[in-house]
Symmetry: C2
């Protein structure tokens, strides 16, 4: 079948009519489906719930001669730091283990930069006249929102299948007002791209004008393959050190999508100098993070090898969902020539690049049929997608039957929105004509 | 026996010599005792460790139709908000349940005031030329340090047995640069004073010039009696509302000294308007706090009545330690006329007001004999006690035998320091003479 762009107006009208009927039928099912957030499903939570009883009694709480129930040990239990060092490929002394949210570790880092300045800052960022922050887009809305809330100017950097466009990045960091960049190096949110070796090298070798330029390296999906074998990644901490700027990078990860999304443990990895600098400041904010939960995690997850085994089980739950999404997109959308997408091998999203000018409309139609997706534009700074094109699909939460229904709605709406554009009409105007 | 001030120089010399011998003997015991921090003892941790197994399986994690393991519910589980409302005497809608540290909730509140401003702020505090913050002293060093780190000017307010000197407070808040005050209304840290009804009323009726003046009401010891029955306290949230400034107060509490110090849950209580305002900002910092631990706590602690029963058991462990400290002070120090102290009925500290100019020296001598106490001056802004007099004793951590030994050292050193002052000599000078 020909792409929409090659069909006659009459053919498009017929297709539109057919889809409209399908849409109305789906609407009558009174669906209430949510594909808006990368939330693990209940099956995944059940999978790891043995963790609840890892610690049974007082004796279990003593580790390395320390009682994890009491105050103290700000940078985290020794064994928790060793665990994350094993996962990330850095040294335990380069880790700081936090609470249940790596997002908080990121926010707090930016907040400290704002209030006190970073290790190599000439002054606190709140004393700078203007601050710019690089946002490879599409990207993670919560990243962008942090730097937006602090009043920084968000600069969009185009994403490529190899990661952020490094030509653009290298040019932009010549501006001393540019203070940092958000990165999701493996299975990027939302496209699922993995930064290429060259991209990672160019990051490590960046020579930003700002002495306190911060690479926010959110390795959120570092062990999150759902398709195929674990893909090793390089240790950005040592790469930056070798390139002569050890304090330029802050790496983040968490167990939110390994154990419990709301009750995992998180980590910030950075140079020892950075860990020392920030520990001192974090010591003003808190006495210590939840070490009982840290110990629970270490005993349950053991090490990277054992964690990867667990991730295989998560993959068994996740893979069929991603396959379904991709299969349906292929079957229903590919030959229409109105959208394209990457086939990710890990992470939590499929990102559909719809025909420019149709993303918002697609999601509006979905919503009316009871299917919620991440807001259009959310993956761009300030929530504005200049091409109104990117749509993030998060297939992890719904059970597979619901997901299939939701994808029927989505594919229908995606095509309706494209046809409206081609035909210069809207569903509402057509319906009103009746 | 006469007070030191009434004794002859010769008598003082003899006393000094006697104490010096005792001190040297104690030093030879090579002690290593810590009374520096209000840490619960292992017995107390063991007391509550059944909490570890409250949640056994997936089913246990569902509450009010919500899965506490997943993301979401930023302000906390419904049942956790109800629990804290019951403890504090406010409404669930006036609570925000946080992670393991109420100190973080306090720091983060000040940080948001700094970056964004509070609900009624004309501008973010970082845009103010000067900010002053009131510090009733002696007080809690970690409170003072937060506001010091943000660059505020700390103003000492004298403490009285009824709470902060409200005449002074009422006068100081006429200055619009004065933006807030730190309070520990029940069993104040370190003196163990409870604010009187009049003090609480005068707080609720404060009319500060700054529209965004913040009362930081750290109700850390709200249910922490170790001596006698629970002493009810009034709900400061509704008192401020009744007095016409509902947004002026932020109350904090935690289970750190009810369950696990490092792995409890915390709460911020404030007007609904404040909770809404801050929830929106906290939503930039995190997706949600650890709700698994919230549920664990609610199931274990149940409600205020049940919590008070548990606190009786903590009291059984704590009371003998406080009695010992007070008994030894009475026996060894009272008749010397060189120090005074309040006999607290709850909280975690005994605060000894030593002869002016002898606190530092006392602690120096203690340290040399292997006994660590909270640093002298720590209970004052900038760590400087103008009279070099206040010493905070934290008897909770050591077992009773160790505590007795530590108090022998302390009483000896307190007297030595006073005698040095009277005699114009030091231990070292005397020892050198030999």
């Amino acid at each position: 079948m020909a792409t929409y762009s090659c069909r006659s107006r009459e053919e498009l009208r017929m297709e539109y009519k057919k889809l409209m009927n399908r849409y109305e039928a789906l609407k009558h099912e009174n669906l209430k489906l949510d594909m808006s957030r990368g939330k693990p499903s209940q099956l995944q939570l059940d999978l790891v719930s043995d963790m609840l009883t890892v610690l049974q009694n007082s004796k279990d709480c003593i580790i390395d001669g320390l009682d994890c129930r009491n105050y103290g040990d700000l940078a985290g239990l020794k064994c928790a730091r060793e665990y994350w060092a094993d996962v990330l490929g850095c040294k335990p002394s380069q880790t700081f283990v936090g609470g249940n949210a790596s997002l908080s570790l990121m926010y707090d880092l930016i907040a400290r930069a704002f209030t006190y300045g970073l290790k190599d800052s000439p002054r606190p960022w709140c004393k700078e006249e203007r601050i710019k922050f690089l946002c490879p887009s599409p990207g993670y809305d919560r990243h962008f929102r942090i730097t937006e809330k602090f009043g920084f100017e968000l600069i969009t950097v185009p994403m490529t299948p190899d990661g952020p466009d490094m030509d653009v990045v290298e040019q932009l960091v010549e501006d001393p007002m540019v203070k940092g960049i958000w990165c999701v190096p493996k299975f990027s949110n939302p496209q699922g791209y993995c930064y290429s070796e060259e991209t990672v090298d160019r990051f490590a070798n960046l020579k930003p004008a700002a002495p306190d330029f911060a690479i926010m390296w959110d390795n959120a999906y570092c062990v999150h393959e759902f398709d195929g074998e674990f893909q090793p990644f390089r240790d950005i901490i040592s790469l930056c050190a070798e390139a002569g700027r050890p304090n330029m990078v802050y790496e983040f990860a968490s167990s939110s999508k390994i154990t419990f999304p709301g009750a995992g443990i998180s980590v910030m990895a950075a140079s020892e100098e950075n860990i020392a600098y920030h520990s001192k400041l974090i010591g003003v904010q808190t006495i210590s993070y939840d070490k009982v939960n840290q110990l629970r995690h270490v005993l349950y997850l053991k090490d990277r090898a054992h964690t990867l085994e667990l991730m295989k089980k998560h993959a068994q739950i996740l893979a069929p969902k991603f396959e379904l999404v991709l299969k349906m997109l292929r079957a229903e959308v590919t030959d229409k020539g109105i959208a394209h997408w990457h086939h990710p091998q890990g992470g939590y999203f499929v990102c559909v690049a719809a025909m420019p000018g149709t993303a918002k409309r697609t999601l509006e139609l979905c919503k009316k049929a009871g299917v919620t997706l991440t807001e259009a534009g959310a993956t761009y700074p300030y929530g504005i997608d200049p091409h109104d094109s990117m749509i993030r699909i998060a297939p992890s939460l719904p059970p597979i039957e619901e997901l299939e229904k939701a994808m029927q709605v989505f594919c229908t709406c995606l095509k309706l929105a494209a046809l409206e554009k081609y035909l210069g009409i809207t569903l509402e105007s057509v319906t009103d004509e009746k």
